[in-house]
């Protein structure tokens, strides 16, 4: 699932395939742009988005897909996604660029279409055969009955040969390695039903199970298709997130010009330009430029670090103020971003031991059915010494016990639950994630980027005189540093107007300076303005005389964070906060949210170890985190959630991805998961009850094709309806 493993695709970077040195601008004529629109939900949204996009010059067509929450745009080659995103943001929709190349797998969804064809053929054939069977049940006899049976056989045999192929393939795969799975009893039931029915028909017998074999295939394919769709939606959305990653970098050529290349084309020793706001594509050393780096995704610390030539950087760090030139020392798979994969692999081995409810049921069920059927065959054969009767009864037992409802029990529920959660902005990536989520009793949060939005907020606006604030605002407006942006926003909201500061200039890595009434004024790092650096995030203002004034910042809470923590605690779950940030910052946040247990300055290994300890104590841990330092912990936890803003590595390691900004769906998801698991268990119970009624009849030799059809259809329909109650 990682973008790095994939070869550069033609749609994303047409130049990369043929000639890697060509700049990205030489795209094909009609550039196809894909945008992710997590906020759209109604018919008015579709119209607005399509109208706004179509009204933008250069855009030829725009079509919204509401199911995938995505817009596909045909536009002139000079139109880029960055030009269209502001258009939609003005209209009130959050939009993100997608790499159309990474989406192609879901566009040409061959496997899904294939399954749908098989489902259609099975449905068509089963309805026709069922009609013929109804006339047999209602009294057709002799030659008419034989004719109906032969017509049924003529429809059934090719239909089964086509539609039941997935089951044949899976059963063969399991048998060839000497294991049993759910498909083995299915295939055995279908084949045995066909063989006995053909034999019966050729002997002008009364009972043929052609309709049962087809209905069985139809219901089971319906289950498979639901399952497939749920996963396809999750996969396409996960692909979408991968497509959001920055796959490009600016490489400096020998003559000093910049060229845009795909990250996968970078080599060790290349000089790479990283603009302010950009993310480091490689590990390396700074050769030119001064700036500050935001390492919060890697370490969880919120205070930016000062960077100058000779300073080592890691892939994933964000450059804040000045342009930097970096000499690559490790690229692609060797970057520190990827080395974390080892930690993840170790941590994941613990989770793979989870057995899903369906597997548990199959393990009990598959041998049971075979034994029961074999016993009834043996019993009847010994009793009557008639192979035909014995085979007929064995086939009836297999058909009636066939896991029709069992095959629908889990997919129907997970489809309903995933659909419900998807509408709330949660993406269930892993098939058993819901079951595991329902068992959670401890929730571990990461701080930076998870509970906090990663954007700072000014906390001590009131401590300053308005003269100081006016100077600070004037200086802050000259910079795009996150602290300056936060200061500007807070000051503007308080109605402050900027003072007249001349000769404004930004000193990358240090701050902004200017001249105010003949005095030099500075806003920036402690050492630069002559103050001492504390543990809190702070920008200092020096007005040329007296002590510098500190502006304190705290990380803004993510929307819904407080509600999510409160709701989780209310539902009796233990909430922990584990962060790589300093103790002061973590304690402040823990108190603000009412979290009693917190750990600060935790290294990635510490986080994973802490989760492992909790697991050993018998706790089922839900880990919510976004950074690289959380990745191992995400993989080690019983179930994990990461926000869409997280690094690719973290999202890959987690089971559920939060698509929006809001954290409040998390407690809701826990409730839905509990309900879903309860429905799955209920469904198993319903299926068992039907079997308990019908199996004795079958073993006693009283089952007719009519009873088999009734038991099968009614249990499947009950199970599906029960699952739908979840929506």
């Amino acid at each position: 699932m990682t973008a790095e493993l994939r070869p550069p695709s033609a749609a994303a970077c047409p130049g990369c395939l043929a000639a890697p040195v060509k700049p990205i601008e030489e795209a094909p004529k009609d550039a196809r742009i894909a945008l992710s629109l997590p906020g759209i939900h109604c018919q008015a949204c579709i119209s607005t988005v399509e109208r706004e996009l179509a009204a933008t010059p250069g855009v030829q067509t725009a079509r919204v897909n509401l199911t995938l929450k995505r817009a596909m745009i045909e536009a002139d080659p000079d139109i880029r996604a960055v030009d269209l995103i502001p258009v939609l943001q003005r209209a009130g929709y959050e939009a993100h660029e997608l790499d159309p190349g990474a989406l192609q797998a879901t566009q040409t969804d061959r496997a899904g279409r294939d399954l749908l064809m098989r489902l259609a053929v099975a449905g068509f054939a089963s309805m026709n055969v069922m009609l013929l069977s109804v006339s047999v049940w209602s009294g057709a006899s002799d030659a008419t009955r034989d004719m109906f049976h032969w017509i049924s056989a003529a429809i059934t045999l090719p239909a089964i040969a086509f539609s039941a192929q997935p089951f044949f393939r899976n059963a063969w795969a399991a048998l060839s390695v000497g294991r049993l799975n759910m498909d083995v009893p299915i295939v055995l039931a279908i084949v045995l039903a066909l063989v006995t029915s053909l034999w019966e028909t050729s002997l002008s017998g009364a009972h043929a199970y052609f309709d049962a074999a087809l209905t069985l295939t139809f219901f089971l394919l319906a289950g498979r298709y639901l399952d497939y769709r749920t996963r396809a939606v999750a996969r396409s959305a996960a692909e979408e997130l991968t497509a959001l990653e920055v796959p490009r970098a600016l490489r400096l050529t020998a003559d000093g010009t910049e060229e845009e290349v795909s990250v996968s084309a970078l080599k060790i020793g290349d000089l790479i330009r990283v603009r302010p706001g950009g993310r480091m594509p490689v590990d390396g050393e700074i050769t030119e430029g001064r700036s500050e780096l935001d390492r919060s995704l890697l370490t969880g610390e919120t205070v930016p670090v000062y960077a100058e030539p000779g300073f080592g950087v890691s892939a994933g760090e964000v450059n804040l103020t000045g342009p930097l030139t970096v000499r690559a020392s490790a690229v692609g798979e060797d970057t520190s971003l990827h080395r974390i994969a080892d930690l993840v692999a170790i941590a994941e081995s613990g989770r793979s031991r989870y057995t899903s409810l369906a597997d548990k049921a199959a393990r009990l069920y598959a041998p049971g059915v075979h034994i029961l059927s074999a016993l009834s065959f043996a019993g009847w054969f010994l009793y009557t010494w008639d192979l035909r009767t014995a085979l007929n009864i064995a086939a009836a037992v297999l058909i009636i016990t066939c896991p029709c409802a069992l095959g629908l029990a889990v997919p129907a529920v997970t489809t309903a639950a995933s659909g419900r959660l998807f509408r709330k902005g949660m993406l269930i990536k892993h098939a058993t994630a819901l079951e595991r989520l329902s068992q959670v009793d401890t929730v571990v949060f990461d701080k930076t980027g998870t509970l906090t939005a990663g954007t700072p907020e000014l906390t001590n606006l009131g401590d300053h005189t308005s003269a100081d604030l006016e100077i600070a605002l004037a200086l802050a407006e000259g910079s795009s540093h996150p602290l300056s942006v936060a200061l500007t926003r807070a000051a503007r909201e308080a109605g402050i107007t900027p003072a007249k500061v001349s000769d404004l200039s930004e000193v990358p890595g240090f701050g902004t300076q200017g001249v105010w009434r003949g005095r030099q004024v500075r806003l920036g790092r402690a050492a630069w303005v002559g103050a001492t650096q504390g543990v809190r995030t702070v920008a200092w203002l020096s007005v040329g005389e007296g002590e510098p004034h500190p502006f304190y910042f705290s990380d803004a809470l993510r929307p819904g964070a407080a509600e999510a923590v409160a709701a989780l605690q209310k539902s009796g779950k233990e909430v922990l906060l584990i962060s790589g940030d300093t103790a002061g910052a973590v304690e402040a946040l823990a108190q603000r949210l009412g979290i009693v247990k917190w750990v600060a300055e935790a290294l990635p290994q510490d986080k994973a170890a802490r989760i492992a300890t909790l697991t050993d104590e018998g706790k089922k841990v839900l880990m919510v985190g976004d950074g690289l330092n959380d990745t191992a912990a995400l993989a080690a936890a019983h179930v994990s959630i990461s926000p869409a803003s997280a690094l690719d590595a973290a999202r890959v390691a987690s089971d559920i991805v939060l698509l929006g900004q809001d954290l409040s769906p998390i407690p809701d998801a826990c409730d839905t998961a509990v309900k879903a698991t309860r429905r799955i268990r209920e469904n198993f119970r319903i299926a068992t009850v039907y079997n308990l009624i019908a199996v004795p009849l079958a073993v006693a030799g009283l089952a007719t094709p009519l009873i088999a059809a009734l038991a099968m259809s009614s249990s499947s329909i009950t199970v599906s309806l029960n699952a739908l109650r979840l929506r």
């Binding site: 579709i46 509401l66 199911t67 749908l116 064809m117 068509f124 309805m127 009609l131 008419t144 017509i151």
Partner: protein, 52 residues
């Protein structure tokens, strides 16, 4: 019972037409955006003339 000899082929053929129609809708991607299509019909934007 002579009627069966042509009624059965006719009913099978009619069913086959339905099947082919369904396969056509699958192949032309009419199930790609069920949510959106169910909402688009409520829009009065292109009621007077089709979208160009």
């Amino acid at each position: 019972m002579q009627v069966l000899s042509y009624l059965i082929p006719i009913s099978l053929a009619l069913g086959g037409v339905g099947l082919l129609a369904f396969l056509y809708t699958v192949r032309s991607g009419q199930y790609d955006d069920p949510e959106g299509d169910s909402r688009r019909i409520l829009s009065d934007e292109w009621d007077d003339h089709p979208k160009p």
